[in-house]
Amino acid sequence: MRKPVSILLLCLLLLLLPVLGSGGYLLNIIVMIFIFVILAVSLDLVMGWAGQISFAHAAFFGIGAYTTAIMERDLGTGFWVNLPSGMVVAGLFGLALGLPALRLRGHFLAIVSIAFQTIVYLALSQWTSFTGGQYGLSVEPVPGFQRVGQFYYLALALAALTVVLAWALTHSRVGAAWQAIRDDEVLARAIGLHTTSSKLLAFVIAAALAGGAGVLVAHHIRGVTPDDFTILVSASIVAMVIVGGQGTLWGPLLGAVVLTALPELLGPLASFKLVIFGALMIFMIIAMPEGVLGAWVHRRRR
């Protein structure tokens, strides 16, 4: 019975970290981890559960971020209005992409998602009058949460809610249908499951959650630029899901922690950090194709 106790201790630690007086650097990293947890867990609904591929997650991340920046600039609204708005806008884009794209399989679905991701990136970086172009836009901090020690709890709450939502979905009939589609889509249809709308649901929910993460990151780093939402970021999120372990609850969570924290720990210089990140991605995919969690479960069974 050691597992729940250690999880409880971990949660306690997470809750108390800012109070324990840790430096801003550590707290910033953990806030980014929370944001990537939202991204990885939501992408896993699409990949590990519904069995589809998507390299467009950073696009929805960016759409959410830019929604709050633009709404703040043009409508004067703040975080609490922009958060649901960002999620709705990202969800709608998810619907727009999903409707045609989910008819395709494998390689082709991946390529369409890449094309969509690139179009969004190009639109963000070139539609200067609307999006601020390569320089991006600035975003105000959230009142009451200006210090990182305070924002920490906001990010923690949203990450926790995402995990709870993912758990509720995957342990319901919705998740059961996703598993069926992932394992044998033809059979799923033959027994009466509407696989297209089921896949679409995963896609739209994931996009909306990514949009929410985008709103969060915009208010955290106090700005949005196109280069925060590139295809590389999409690929990193996919890597987090795979490296952590697809189709499990803790897998993407673990993957987000590993791929966000490790580079920070191993390299001081920005470029050096990224070289390590790249090498890490390669190494982890080769060494652990079923993910860290998968490999661990594997070893325990022996």
Partner: protein
């Protein structure tokens, strides 16, 4: 055009490029009947089954279920209209439990919706309990209740075939299409199969269309047999008559004609 018919196959033709797989096949199935569909390899039985269950679209002709057209509809719609099937190659979700395999087939018909399931409302949980009870009832027909929470892949082939039958029966189908259910079964299991198919009709009033090679099963359970050869219907009669029909004998033994596998 008898209103007594539950399933009406009308002039079904199917081309694959230059190949004619089915040529103007027509027959009907009355409610409560057990009709066999037999024919040598390559006669078009699988193609017909796939058309009936929405995996293929006919080139011409149509299929009516209780007067409503089902041909050309997607397979999930046809399933929801009450057509269940088993697969020649045995199709289950191997990693999922037997209970889950059966529950998934019943899912679309539950009164509480997906949202209720996510929110864990009492209505959804009540439905889940009822689903499990139904699954147990079905598995009891085959004596497989103790496997209910095992992953489907853990069962033997014979047992898995039974689970496929349980899955279909649990949905209370109007028509149940069995695609070579006896394939790969040991003789005691074939006896069991015959018993179960008869029970399905007797106890649950299910109408059955049975595609089969194993003649023992066909002769034991079928009221009528439709025989296909090279995509055409060559006989439609009770088993005893059909199997002695010279055209049918000719089709199977193929005096002087080469048969492909």
């Amino acid at each position: 055009m008898s209103t007594q018919s539950l399933l009406q196959v009308q002039g079904i033709t199917k081309h694959f490029g230059g190949l004619m797989a089915l040529d103007d096949v027509s027959f009907t199935v009355a409610p409560g009947e057990i009709v066999g569909l037999i024919g040598p390899n390559g006669s078009g039985k699988s193609t017909l089954v796939n058309i009936l269950t929405g995996l293929l679209v006919p080139s011409s002709g149509r299929v009516l279920l209780d007067g409503q057209q089902i041909s050309g509809r997607p397979s999930w719609q046809i399933a929801r209209m009450g057509v269940a099937r088993t697969f020649q190659m045995l199709r289950l979700f191997p990693a999922l439990s037997v209970a889950r395999n059966i529950a998934l087939a019943m899912q679309h018909a539950l009164p509480s919706g997906d949202l209720a399931s996510v929110l864990r409302l009492p209505s959804a949980r009540a439905d889940d309990v009822r689903t499990r009870e139904k699954a147990l009832e079905m598995l009891a027909l085959f004596g497989l209740e103790r496997f209910i929470d095992q992953p489907a892949a853990a069962l033997s082939i014979g047992q898995q075939r039974m689970v496929e039958l349980a899955r279909g029966l649990a949905t209370s189908p109007r028509v149940f299409l069995l695609d070579e259910p006896a394939a790969g079964l040991s003789p005691p299991n074939v006896d069991k199969l015959i018993e179960v198919v008869s029970t399905m009709r007797a106890q649950y009033g299910v109408t059955v269309l049975l595609v089969e090679h194993v003649m023992r099963v066909v002769q034991a359970v079928c009221d009528r047999v439709v025989v296909l050869d090279y995509g055409r219907k060559i006989a439609d009669a009770p088993p005893a008559e059909a199997t002695t029909d010279p055209r049918v004998v000719e089709a199977y033994i193929g005096l002087g004609r080469a048969r492909h596998a």
